[in-house]
Each structure stands twice: as C-alpha cells, then as structure tokens.
C-alpha cells in the first residue's frame, strides 16, 4: 500500500502538486480521522435534528398556549441567528458556566467538550428548521382525514403517530432532505471550536505544507462525494416512501 502512496511524494517532487495527506502517514491518519469525525458529527446531528423536528411539530399542535409559544420562541431564536454565533455562544458563553468535572490529569474541565457542544448547537439549529418543515407537511394533511380518524376513535397521539405524521412525512421529505444536506455542510463550522473534522484537519495540513490550492480542491471534492452519497440515499428514500396517487 505504501508504494502507492509514495507515488504521490514523487508527484510532488516532479510537479509541485503536493498531496501530503496521501504520502505522509501522519497527515494521512489525521485526514482520515477528520473524515470520520465529519461523518460522526453529521450522523449524530441528523438524528437529533429530526427528533427535535418531530417533537417540535407535535408540540406546536398542542392546545396549550404556552407550549406553542415556547416552541415558537425556540424556532425564532435558532432560525434568526447565525449558526457560527450559536456555536461560539454555546461553547464559550454557556460552556464556561457549566459545572466542572475532575480530569484524569488532576485538573478541572467543563462538563461538556467541544464535540458535545457542536452536536447540541447544530442539532438545535437544524431542528428549528425541521419543526417548520414538519409543520408544512402536517398542515398539508386534509382535515377530513384527521376527522375520519377521530370518528374511528383514535386518540390524539395515535392520530399524530399513525395518520398525520406518515402522510406529512411524504409531503415534506424533499424540503427535509434539503435541510439535512445543509446540515452536513454546516458541520464545517465546528472547526471554529476546534472539533477536529475535515476542514479543521485540512486547514492544519495546508498551514504545515503551504499547499492551500490542493487542499481546497480536495476538500471540495470530498464534500461533493460525501453530500452526493447522502443525496443519493435520500432520493432512494423518497422513492421508497412514495404512495402512488398521493400528491402528484
């Protein structure tokens, strides 16, 4: 395997095209770790943001005025502020107020680290959009369908779980996928609070090797592949969930 990688060192010496994340084992390892971190961060945030969206949309239909107001306030707060500002706010402002826990080297560290804050911040950010997306789907479900379910004796929760949500899901899937793709791209912001994801590692590599152009091209290519894979999956998902004759 190393012979193949050595080829890129020769490429650098011969042409000046410097790809140290291929021929240098240290850089290769950290680039790979960065890639894994991006995937891990994306998957965890995708999961939580969808959960937040589903719960938020359910609470939005609550008959209690204050529940609806709190959900609305959450949406306004997270939708109307930039995600980078939210990250800084969570990590530096809230993070320093958190209780401290003893570390194994005899010091005290904040309870939540930068990865946890990135997950919290990005999940809530994308979750705010997801609530609105799910709401658009729920409002598209005809009232008559809900009334028919009520007439059949379904409880409110059962109607949401078995009638409204499955239909709403199919309506809002395209815009949901849109938001999830955006979320994966937004994970790059986590490098501002030193979460070692792909952009963070690439930044360190191009600083060490002065090969900004090559690293930029690689990053663009890597994200294109990563997001492309996600889009391919979501398209398959949309097709699998399609109900013939429903919608258009």
């Amino acid at each position: 395997m190393q012979e193949y990688f050595e080829w890129f060192r020769i490429l650098y010496e011969e042409t000046g095209i410097n790809l140290p994340f291929l021929y240098d084992s240290y850089d290769r390892n950290r680039m790979f770790q960065g890639f894994l971190m991006t995937i891990k961060l994306s998957v965890v945030c995708l999961f939580f943001s969808v959960i937040i969206g589903i719960i938020g949309a359910w609470l939005q239909g609550s008959s209690l005025k204050w529940t609806r107001r709190i959900v609305d306030a959450y949406i306004q707060l997270f939708r109307n502020t930039p995600p980078l500002v939210q990250l800084y706010f969570f990590y530096f402002a809230i993070g320093s107020l958190m209780p401290k826990v003893a570390t194994e080297w005899g010091g005290e560290a904040p309870l939540l680290g930068n990865f946890a804050w990135a997950v919290i911040s990005l999940s809530f950010f994308a979750g705010a959009f997801n609530v609105e997306i799910f709401r658009s789907g729920i409002e598209a479900v005809p009232n008559s369908t809900v009334e028919a379910a009520e007439a059949l004796g379904f409880s409110k929760f059962q109607i949401y779980k078995d009638i409204t949500l499955p239909l709403a899901f199919r309506v809002c899937l395209p815009s949901l996928n849109n938001n999830l793709v955006n979320l994966v791209k937004t994970t790059t912001l986590a490098y501002a609070i030193a979460v070692p994801e792909m952009l963070y590692e690439a930044n360190q590599i191009w600083s060490d090797n002065v090969n900004v152009t090559e690293m930029m091209l690689f990053l663009l290519f890597a994200y294109f592949i990563l997001v492309g894979a996600l889009v391919w999956c979501t398209n398959r998902w949309e097709r699998a969930l399609r109900i013939p004759g429903y919608g258009s």
Binding site: S96, E108, Q204
Partner: protein, 269 residues
C-alpha cells in the same frame, strides 16, 4: 476508475498552474510609491508584537517597524490584520505589499513568499500552563489536550513527538479562554508572546515551565520575485540591527532583550 483518476489529476494540475501563475510584476516598490500608500500585514492578537489598541488601531513592535518602512519610502501606511493561516495567501494575492507578522522563517515558506535576509527577530516554542500541573518536560503533555492556534507549524510537532492532543483555535483570545475554562491543560505558542501574557492580570497562576524548543528566526516577507523591494527591505533590516532599533522597541514594549536581537546588534554594529 481510470478516467476518474485522470480527472482528479487534471483538476489538481489546473490548481497548481493557477498557483504558479501568480507571478507578480516585479515593480512593487514603484507601485507603492505611485499609490502613496503601503499595505502592511500585521498581527492583531499578538501582544506586544502586533495588537490593537482600544480605538482599534494596530500597535506594537511590528507596526512600528512597518512605520519605519513607510517613513523611509515617504508614503502613508495602511495596516491589514492577518492571522497565521492566511498571511502568506494575502501576500500572494496582493492584498498586502509587505508582511511583518511574527512568521517563522522556514524553507517551504521561502518557496511561496520572498523572505528577507537577514532575519529581523527570533523566537521559540513553549507552553503557558497553570502552575498546579507542574509540567517539567515536554513528554508530560502526552495524552493531554493542549490548546493551539490553527496554522501554527509546531502543532504537528507537539502532537507527533510528544503525544499531545492539539485543540487548535482561530485566534489567541479563544485559546486563552479555553485554557482558562480548563478545556486544555496548556497553550502551546511562541515563547515571546507567552512571556508577555504571563505578566498580565488574571494569569498569575500560570507559568512558562518548559525549556524553549525550536528557537527559530522570524522572517518578514515581500511577494515572491520582488527582488528590488527585497533588497530594500534587507537594507532596512540591517539598519534596524545596526542602530539597535529592535532592542529599543523591545524595551519600549516591555520585552526583555532577546539573545538574538543582542547578537544581531553586535554583528552589524
């Protein structure tokens, strides 16, 4: 697969061509005089070498050196704040004419920007750490989170040789905040900046405990290929050493005279 690889390599070649295509016209000195203003890239978060006063103006040792250059040329000065990860790119793209931004002189950097000889300053790497940890040697950092600055060359060494986990931030303010919050056990940075920081209020319980490593000269830089400008800056630098200007500025800004500055003054006196 084969076509994909070809495609990738093609794209990269294009990138490399674009990179090497940026050959500046070699008359920067005339351009600066014609424009009547010199744009100098300096640090904005590196006390006391380049930082901002309460009104937002760039001050410090390096802005003063830059002012000397502007005075000698008889032009106005415009400071452009730069950080470690963009300073060379700013110079390449012509956003700045001259960079005096605490940059360590390294061979691969000489391929990208025109680093002026002789070096104007020198510093090494050390850490700022709370006294309670009692670090004695670099190996003590093994397995522990250490704050750093994105783009600093010693991040790699600190993690590769001493096993520290580097947590690198964009600017020093974030790194100091993370250090004080306890997110990392130390902050790896230039000893010259740490010396100044450890004297500040709020850092009484911090120290610079390790032997300085990588003592390396700093280089100020002009765009690659600007030989006339480079020669001019060479003379400037020799002048600074000869007249003791660097030593004078160190004293003015509260830095103990560094061995490098003293040696250079002796050499050119």
């Amino acid at each position: 697969m084969k076509t994909t690889i070809k495609c990738i390599i093609g794209t990269l070649c294009l990138g490399a061509a674009a990179l090497s295509g940026q050959v500046a016209n070699a008359e920067a000195l005339d351009d600066i005089k014609a424009a009547g203003v010199i744009k100098v890239g300096v640090k904005a978060d590196y006390k006391p070498y380049g930082f901002l006063d309460s009104s937002g103006a760039s001050i410090g040792i390096e802005p003063e050196l830059a002012q000397d250059v502007a005075d000698k040329l008889g032009v106005e000065i415009e400071f452009v704040p730069v950080v470690s990860s963009n300073r060379m790119q700013f110079l390449e793209q012509g956003k700045i004419d001259l960079m005096i931004a605490t940059m360590t002189d390294k061979p691969d950097r000489r391929k990208v920007v025109g680093i002026v000889d002789p070096n104007y300053y020198s510093s090494g790497t050390n850490i700022l750490a709370p006294k309670k940890y009692g670090f004695k040697k670099w190996e003590d950092l093994n397995g522990k989170p250490v704050c750093g600055i994105q783009g600093a060359f010693y991040n790699k060494r600190t993690s590769e040789n001493y096993g520290a986990t580097i947590v690198a931030f964009k600017g020093t303010a974030e790194a100091y905040a993370a250090l004080q919050a306890g997110s990392c056990v130390a902050f790896v940075y230039d000893d010259s900046a740490i010396v100044a920081k450890a004297k500040e209020a709020g850092f009484e319980e911090y120290e610079m405990p390790l032997p300085t490593i990588d003592d390396a000269p700093w280089g100020l830089a002009v765009p690659l290929g600007e030989e006339k400008f480079k020669d001019f800056m060479s003379e400037m630098t020799i002048d600074w050493h000869k007249s003791g200007r660097i030593l004078e500025l160190e004293t003015k800004w509260g830095v103990a005279n560094t061995p490098f500055a003293i040696a250079m003054h002796e050499k050119y006196k």
